[in-house]
Each structure stands twice: as C-alpha cells, then as structure tokens.
C-alpha cells in the first residue's frame, strides 16, 4: 500500500470515527440513564479519530501526489470533492496533534461537570467539531467547504456555551456567532467572486485563479477573503469576539478554539494567498505584514492588562496569529520580489508557528482549566502558591509559558527565529523603500516577544508562585491522571518540536513545493550539526538540540557541585524580609494589576487608563475606613466598530420586523409579488 492509499484509508477512518462519535450521541443523549461514562465513551471516538487523522496527514505529507476524490454529481449539480494536498495535510496534522491530547485531558475534565447538564450531547459535538475541522481543511469544493465551515461554527457555539446559564457565556457565544456571520459573509462574496472568474466551484480550478482576474476584482476578492478569514483568525481590529468567547468555554474547548479553530482562518489565508493567488503585488504582502505587526503588538499589550487567566491566554492567541501573519506577509512580499526560496523560509516560519501555537496554547489552556477547576476562579488575583498543591500542572504550565515566550530551546524559539531570519533576509531583496518594512517588523516582533515574556512571568508567577491569595488557592489539589496525561503529552510535544526542529522542518517541503515550487530543507538544514540554517546567502544558524544539551550541562554542573557541598554548610529555611512588619501576608504580594502597572503607564496612549479612588472616612481623611478603587482601560480598537455593527444589525432587524405584520393578506401579497417576479425572470429565455 503506497502512502497515498494509506492517507486515504486513515482519512476516511478518521471521518468515520468522528461521524460515529457524533451520531451515537444523538440517541444516547435521549437516554435518561446516560451518564458521564457514556460521554467518556464518545470522547474515545474523538481520541481514536484524532490519531487516525494524524496518520492521514502524515501519510499525505509523505505522498508524492495529493489524494483527491470527487463525488458523483449530486442534485444541485455540484460535484463535491475532497482533496488532501500538502497544505491540507499539514493543517490536518496540526488538528490531530492538538485534538488527541485534548481528548485525553477531556476524559478527566468532563467528570468535573465541564459540559454542564448535557455531557453526552456535548461529547458528541466535540466529535462533530473535529469532523467539521477535518473537512474544512480537506474540502475541495466551495460549497462543501462552506458547509463544513458553518457546521464548525455551530458545533463550536454549542460547545462553548456549555454553561449557558451564565450571562457572560451567552454574551461570548452571541459575539462569536455575530462576527462569524460577518466573516462568512465576506468569505462568501470573495469566494463567489473568484468562482465567477475561475468558472468552477472546485478548488482545483481556483489555483492561480486570482491572477486571471482584472486588477480591481482581484484586489477586492483578496481583501474580502483576507479580512473574512481574518475575523476567524482574530486579527485586530476584528478580534472582539475572541477574548469574549474563548474564556467562557470549557477549558479543553478553549484549547481547541485557540489552538485550531482560529487556525481555520489561517488556513483560509494561506490557501488564498499562496494557492488561489500565485502572484500578488507588494501591497498585499504589506497589508498582511501590517495586520500581523498590529495584531501581535496590540494583542500582547492587552494580554498584559488582563488578570482573568483565560482572557489573558485568549489575547495571546491574537498575538500569535500576528506572528504567524508576519511570516505570511514576509513570504508574500518576498514572492512578489521574485525570491521564492526566501519566501518559502518565511512561509515555513509562519506555518511552523501555527503548529507550535496550537501545541503550547493548547497546553496553557488545559493548564488554566486545571487551575480554574482547583481554585474556583479565573481571576489571577485570587490565585497564588498553586505550585505547592499542583506541582505537575505548574511544571507543564511553565513549559508552555517558556515556549510561548520564545525561550530557547523550545519550539516557540525556533519559529520566532525562523521569522527573524526571513524578515532579515527580506532586506536585501529590493531597492525600494518597502524593504525597510522587514527589519522594522523584526524589531516590533522583538518588542512583542519581550512583552510576551513579561506577560508570562506575570501569568505564571502570580498564579503559581509565592503565597496563596485565597482560601480556595490554599486548598487547591492536583488534577486527575487523565488531565495530567493530556498536559504532559503537549508539554513533551513542545520540547520535542523545539529540540528536533531540524528534523521536522523537512516535512514542510511538500507544502512549499506545492505553493512556491521550491523547498528549503536541502539548503536549510544541515544534518551534520543538527542546526537550522537559513538558506543562502547564509545568514545564520541555530541548533536547539545543542543549545538544550549545553544549557542542561551548564546548569547541572554547578548544581551538582552545590549538592555535594550542601552537606557541609548550613541550609535553613527562614522568613522573607518583611521590613519589620509583624508578618508577610498574601496582601503584601505584588498583584497581577500591579505587575503590569508600569507597562500600563508607559503605553497609556494606547490604554487611556482611568482610575478612581474614593476614600471614605469618618473623622479625618488620614484614617479612611474604606477605600473604593476602580481602574479601567480603553478596550482594544475594534470594540467600537463592533458596537456600531451590533446597533446597525438590531436597527435593521427592527425595521425588517415591520414586514412581518402578522396579517394574512400581506403575506398573500408577498407570495403573489414573488411569484410574478420569479415568472418574469424564470420564463425569460
């Protein structure tokens, strides 16, 4: 059996398992005796399906030819087709790499009531979501793609609103639906515009269709598709749904939402930019690069201001989408200047970051889920000291935090390093002023990455370290084995993808060959030193494996010396310096808000912070009996846009209601007018 066949078999198996997991939930959900055990059974389908999907993606990446299957002509004249080319296969692997450990985690997590009152139905919906995502990544036909897209939106919505009794959850879900509709509207328009020029609804015909279009139409379709998919990906200023919707979902669903659901937007953007459009003028690359820089920087700035752990992570998703888009934008610019090889480097940087972000953000959300479950709050100000009660979770969260901060030798470092190399290489490609955009984007990427590190010092430090700030945090205990296993799996993946990056990068050859007709691995990775090397002109190399080994030995050597000495010198545990106060308590600790205060002040032009302090006193203002403190910042740009859109929508709905007067005569008149119109248009030859 060759790898194409194997990919096809595994893919069908995966879809079958997801479908079975979902369909079984429909009758089982009705059964009154259905319990969390049944939900766990259905969860098993998700796990098995993810493993099959991983195999399908891996085989398809290795296959020389993409696997393609077209259905017989259906009723409406559509020939649905499935296509498993290299780009689809890569996203399928990313999906599976995250979904498998997430389903392992879910075995433990759903026992804690994560799915609200209908665990069986939602376990089935998890399968439905994974199936829909697999279909989105592999659909070869516009209608099938859009159908899968809508199915994915519906499944995500019902999964994220598991706790729909809470107003916040309903609000998040509503925003998600609203903005998904807006994005889908733009996508429909863009795809139909492309279809009109391609003369077909099959993606096979779409390849390069963007170049056959006249300039204005091509630009319009590109912008519609970029911003349509951009809403899903959460680029600023179209991100408003993301920090509202991701935190309210059950944490393993948040992991999927941030890890892979928003990546459907990235998939769409990659498909459009590199497959549908084989050539673009430089402005397109600049648009993508600018969107990436803005999203990255503002995403991390707003993440820093959060003290809701899950909202903080959600804003970091926006930041990482920005980093991915920097890679894509750089690649587009390099392609339009005629450097496909450097473009391939930038594309690989973006795609590798897509996979890495799925892993470490999934890990962080799973960790947040364990933390929120143990401490009964999402507010970091009420956590602290959790490393004592839950040391394993703390370790895994620390790995995720280090990876997302781009620290060597983990996977986040590798993809950020590739992005820098690509951006630097871009400077030498042209004599136009646009080339200054590359290093400026690189410097802003440095700012973004450094702020991300600050943010995760805060997220990890305030949550896990020092003294507990609440009774719940004091009593927090470690989560169950299934949840730990899910997190350990992802943490291991972050380490392996970091250290083993030189061996992973060649797997992207298929994608770059398909999209840019070139590959970087031959020149890019030298096996002898296990180092990544940017392609010629040789611009640098990095070897995460060697760095990891050296770091380990450099830190172990003094550690061993210290352990040997420790027996001979005193080692005691003492109190922390408390300035002579009676005792240090948790209220002496720095808070999350305090930690980010200096950044709030420095970037006050962005945040426009407003604070109000009202002391209440009886005798003298120097002895306040109570102090009310209020602090707020201006929400990220786009919120007012969203509010406006929401108002407009409600206004239109109100007006539209007048048509539905409830009068039978009016309805008969509508039907009559419609009939006349249809006859007029239908009968006309």
């Amino acid at each position: 059996m060759d790898s194409t066949q194997a990919a096809c078999t595994a893919y069908l198996l995966a879809l079958g398992l997801f479908a079975a997991g979902w369909l079984l939930s429909l009758p089982l959900h009705m059964w009154r005796g259905a319990s969390v055990r049944v939900a766990a059974l259905l969860n098993g389908f998700a796990l098995a399906g993810s493993i099959a999907a991983a195999a399908a993606g891996a085989f398809a990446l290795a296959a020389p030819e993409p696997w393609r299957w077209a259905a017989p002509e259906t009723l409406a004249g559509f020939r649905f087709s499935i296509r498993l080319d290299a780009l689809s296969a890569f996203f399928l692997v990313s999906l599976a790499a995250l979904a498998a450990p997430v389903s392992v985690y879910a075995f433990g997590y759903i026992r804690h009531g994560a799915y609200g009152r209908s665990p069986v139905m939602r376990s089935g919906l998890l399968n439905a979501l994974l199936g829909a995502l697999a279909l989105i990544f592999t659909a070869g036909h516009v209608v099938l793609f859009l159908a899968a897209w809508e199915a994915g939106v519906a499944a995500s919505y019902f999964l994220m609103t598991a706790t729909h009794e809470e107003g916040e959850t309903r609000h998040g879900g509503w925003l998600f639906i609203l903005m998904s509709r807006a994005g889908a509207g733009m996508m429909y328009a863009g795809l139909l515009l492309l279809a009109a020029f391609a003369g077909s609804l099959d993606f096979e015909e779409f390849s390069g269709a963007g170049n056959a279009m006249p300039g204005a139409a091509a630009a319009a379709a590109f912008l519609l598709l970029f911003f349509g998919f951009g809403i899903k990906a959460g680029i600023i200023p179209l991100h408003a749904w993301l920090p509202a919707a991701h935190p309210v979902a059950p944490s393993h669903v948040s992991a999927l939402l941030s890890g892979i659901v928003i990546k459907t937007g990235i998939y769409g953007i990659a498909r459009v930019c590199f497959d549908f459009y084989r050539e673009m003028p430089p402005w397109a690359g600049l648009v993508v690069l600018a969107a990436g820089v803005v999203s990255g920087l503002l995403g991390v700035l707003y993440a820093l201001m959060e003290h809701d752990l899950k909202r903080l992570l959600a804003f970091h998703s926006i930041e990482n989408i920005g980093i991915i888009l920097m890679g894509f934008g750089g690649s587009l610019l390099l392609r339009s200047y005629g450097y496909p090889k450097l473009g391939a480097l930038a594309l690989v940087a973006g795609l590798f970051h897509t996979l890495n972000h799925a892993l470490f953000k999934g890990l962080l959300f799973l960790g947040a889920g364990a933390v929120v479950h143990a401490s009964h709050t999402r507010n970091m100000e009420e956590m602290g000291g959790l490393i004592r009660g839950m040391p394993r979770t703390a370790l895994y969260f620390l790995v995720g935090a280090a990876a997302i901060s781009g620290l060597p030798p983990l996977n986040g470092f590798v993809s950020e390093w590739l992005t820098y190399q690509a951006l630097l290489a871009g400077f030498g490609t042209t004599t136009e002023i646009t080339r200054v955009a590359f290093p400026v984007a690189g410097a802003l990427l440095a700012l973004t990455a450094a702020l991300a590190a600050a943010c995760f010092v805060k997220a990890f430090g305030i949550t896990f370290l020092a003294m507990p700030r609440s009774e719940h945090a004091r009593q927090a205990t470690e989560c169950g084995p299934a949840m730990r296993a899910g997190m350990a799996w992802l943490a291991l993946a972050c380490v392996v993808l970091g250290l083993g990056a030189p061996w992973v990068i060649p797997a992207f050859d298929g994608v770059t060959l398909q999209l840019l007709k070139t590959r970087i691995s031959l020149s890019g990775v030298s096996w002898s030193t296990a180092a990544l090397q940017a392609p010629p002109p040789r611009t640098g190399s990095a070897s995460p494996l060697a760095l990891g080994l050296l770091l380990a030995s450099f830190s172990l050597a003094p550690w061993i010396l210290w352990r040997l000495r420790r027996r001979r010198v005193s080692h005691r545990v003492g109190p922390v310096w408390d300035c002579g106060l009676p005792a240090l308590t948790a209220s002496n600790e720095y808070t999350a808000t305090g930690f980010s205060k200096s950044i709030r002040m420095i970037f006050s032009a962005v945040f426009r912070p407003r604070r109000e302090i009202q002391p209440q006193f009886e005798a003298s203002p120097y002895f306040p009996s109570q102090i009310r403190f209020e602090s707020e910042i201006r929400p990220a740009p786009g919120a007012s846009l969203l509010a406006g859109a929401q108002e407009l929508l409600l206004w239109v709905a109100k007006r539209a209601r007048q048509i539905q007067a409830g009068s039978l005569h009016a309805y008969l008149a509508y039907i009559f007018v419609t009939l006349i119109l249809l006859l007029l248009f239908g009968v006309r030859p």
């Binding site: 490393i387 004592r388 280090a402 901060s405 781009g406 620290l407 060597p408 390093w417 400077f427 030498g428 002023i433 400026v440 690189g442 410097a443 802003l444 440095a446 700012l447 990455a449 450094a450 702020l451 590190a453 600050a454 010092v457 805060k458 430090g461 370290l465 003294m467 180092a531 002109p537 611009t539 640098g540 190399s541 990095a542 070897s543 060697a546 760095l547 050296l550 770091l551 380990a552 450099f554 830190s555 172990l556 003094p558 010198v569 080692h571 005691r572 545990v573 003492g574 109190p575 922390v576 310096w577 408390d578 948790a586 002496n588 600790e589 720095y590 305090g594 200096s598 950044i599 002040m601």
Partner: protein
C-alpha cells in the same frame, strides 16, 4: 571540532575569570572619580569566594523555581557568552546560534530570575520583577534594530561573520549607520546591565532598585551564581559592542602570539568601553522610572535611523 571545543572551554574560562575583574575595575574607577578610595578591583573575587563558602537561607515561601533560577540564569548567560567572538574572529559555538540566539538566551535567564523574584512573595521581588521585565521589553526593539543594522551590513546574524566582514571592508565606523547603531546599543547596554541612569547597581534603597530588588532574598552560593551571571552578562554585552563595531584587533589565525596580542587588545577595548560606562554613571543622575522609556525610545529611534541610513547611504 576539537579546536572549537578547546576555544569554547578557553572562552568560558575567560568569561568566568575576567568578568569579576571588569566589574571591580568599574567600581574602583567610579569611586576614584567620586573622590572616594573605593574597594580594590579584586573585591568581586573576594565576594565570590566568600559567598560560595557560605550556607543558604531559603525563604519559606519559595518553591523549586527559586532554587532552579540561579542555575538556569548562570547556564543561559554563560552559553550566550560562547556565541560571540572575543579574541579570535569567530565565536567558538557559532554553528549553534548567532546573535538572535544570544538575545533569546539572555531573555531565558531574565525570565527565570523574574519568576524567582515573584516566588518569594515579597513586594520588593514583585517590584523588581515587574520593572526588569518592562525595561527589558522596551530595550529589546532598540537592541534588535542596532543588531540588525550590523547584521544587514554583513548579511549574517553570526557575530563572528559580522566581525569578519567588517574587518574585510576596512574602517567603516564613521559611516552614519554604524555610529547610530553604536549609540543605540550603548544605551541598551546601560539599561540591560542595570547602570545609571536606568538602575543604580550600588543602591540598597528598596524603592529605586531593580536588579537588586529581584535578588534580595538570595544568599550564599545561589547569590554568588546570580551575581556572577550578572557580571558575565555585562562582559558579554560589552564584548558585543566592542567586537561588532571595532573588530580590527581580532586574531584571524590560530598563532599563539597573535592570539595573546589579540587577547590583550580585547581586554583594552573592553576597558575603554567600561570607562565610558563609568563616565556616564558619574556624570548622570538616576532617572525616574517613567523617564527610562524615553531614553529607550531615543535608542530605538537611533537604531531605526541607523537602519534607514543603511538604506540611504549604503553600508559604507
């Protein structure tokens, strides 16, 4: 292979042994300029010796992160030091990473030190941690801009290669891009090593400390490792500045005499730069914390101008 391993060992020893001396010399020079006698330049060695022999008082609120941090910081800083050329015109471990890796390794150390500072639960720790991460974040784009300017001139992010290209092209320090980048990197050096006007290394007044506030709870060998790492980091950054912009003294061959001469010149360069740091420290007052962003913005603008002048005037 063996040659670069030997070079790595020698360079590690150089960093470990010479970095306390440089710190000591800076302290002595500063004291003399302020009409004080000051400690002997060898005082840091004595401090190290004393601290390494002592026991440890571990804060009762701290966790394993607090214990691990000194070792991680030490390893990351030392490894970063092996990625730059010091005496010869190539870094011992250049195939394992270039200047980008160096920046990220320093970030790794900072990340763990900031976590350890939060781990004690003391407000000073939190204060130092917050300030350190803020200033580092603001210094990063300026640092990258300056490094990019040098890297773009050489077409490589390997600092050894950058130095070689600069030697090959001859004296080009007077090119506007190089001068501007040098100025930007010098400001970043002041910020990253915690020098006046950004941070005062001599202060023990809690409200103005940054680095010292983070390590307030450390004692004994752990403190020794952290102090040592800070000195190594200072030497690494001085070396980066010296060898990216004045690479001409670097030895190009493996001859012993040549290497010795280059080593002497290298220490001389570092000392001249350290002298500049001393002058800045004595003639300036420490800035208010919220003035520091303006200084770093100046560095960023200088870096950006350096880059744009590369574009306008070419590298030379």
């Amino acid at each position: 292979m063996i040659l670069s391993a030997i070079a790595a060992v020698v360079q590690a020893l150089l960093l470990l042994l010479a970095s306390p001396l440089i710190t000591g010399l800076i302290r002595t020079a500063k004291a003399r300029l302020q009409n004080r006698r000051g400690p002997s330049p060898l005082q840091p060695y004595r401090d190290l010796h004393k601290l390494l022999r002592k026991g440890v008082v571990e804060p009762e609120t701290a966790s394993a992160v607090f214990t691990a941090a000194p070792f991680v910081v030490f390893a990351a800083t030392l490894l970063a030091g092996l990625l730059i050329p010091t005496v010869a015109a190539s870094a011992p471990l250049s195939q394992f990473g270039g200047v980008l890796t160096l920046v990220y390794l320093l970030a790794l150390g900072r990340f763990f030190l900031a976590l350890a500072a939060l781990d004690t639960g003391s407000s000073f720790g939190g204060m130092g941690s917050s300030r350190e991460m803020t200033i580092a974040a603001l210094a990063e784009p300026a640092l990258m801009m300056a490094v990019f300017t040098a890297a773009l001139g050489a077409g490589s992010t390997d600092p050894g290669r950058m130095a070689q290209v600069a030697i090959f092209e001859g004296w080009r320090f007077l090119a506007p891009s190089q001068m501007l980048a040098f100025a930007a990197l010098f400001i970043v050096l002041l910020a990253e090593t915690g020098r006046i006007p950004v941070d005062n290394p001599a202060t023990h007044l809690e409200l103005t400390m940054i680095h010292e506030a983070m390590i307030l709870e450390y004692s004994g060998p752990w403190l020794a490792l952290i102090e040592w790492s800070a000195w190594i980091r200072q030497m690494v950054l001085l070396t980066l500045l010296a060898n990216l912009f004045f690479p001409f003294t670097l030895a190009s061959g493996p001859g012993v005499m040549e290497l010795l001469a280059a080593g002497g010149l290298y220490l001389l360069k570092i000392l001249v730069l350290a002298g500049a740091v001393v002058l800045v420290e004595t003639t300036n007052a420490k800035m208010r914390l919220f003035r520091v962003p303006e200084l770093l913005a100046v560095a960023f603008v200088l870096g950006a101008l350096a880059l744009i002048s590369t574009f306008l005037f070419g590298v030379r």
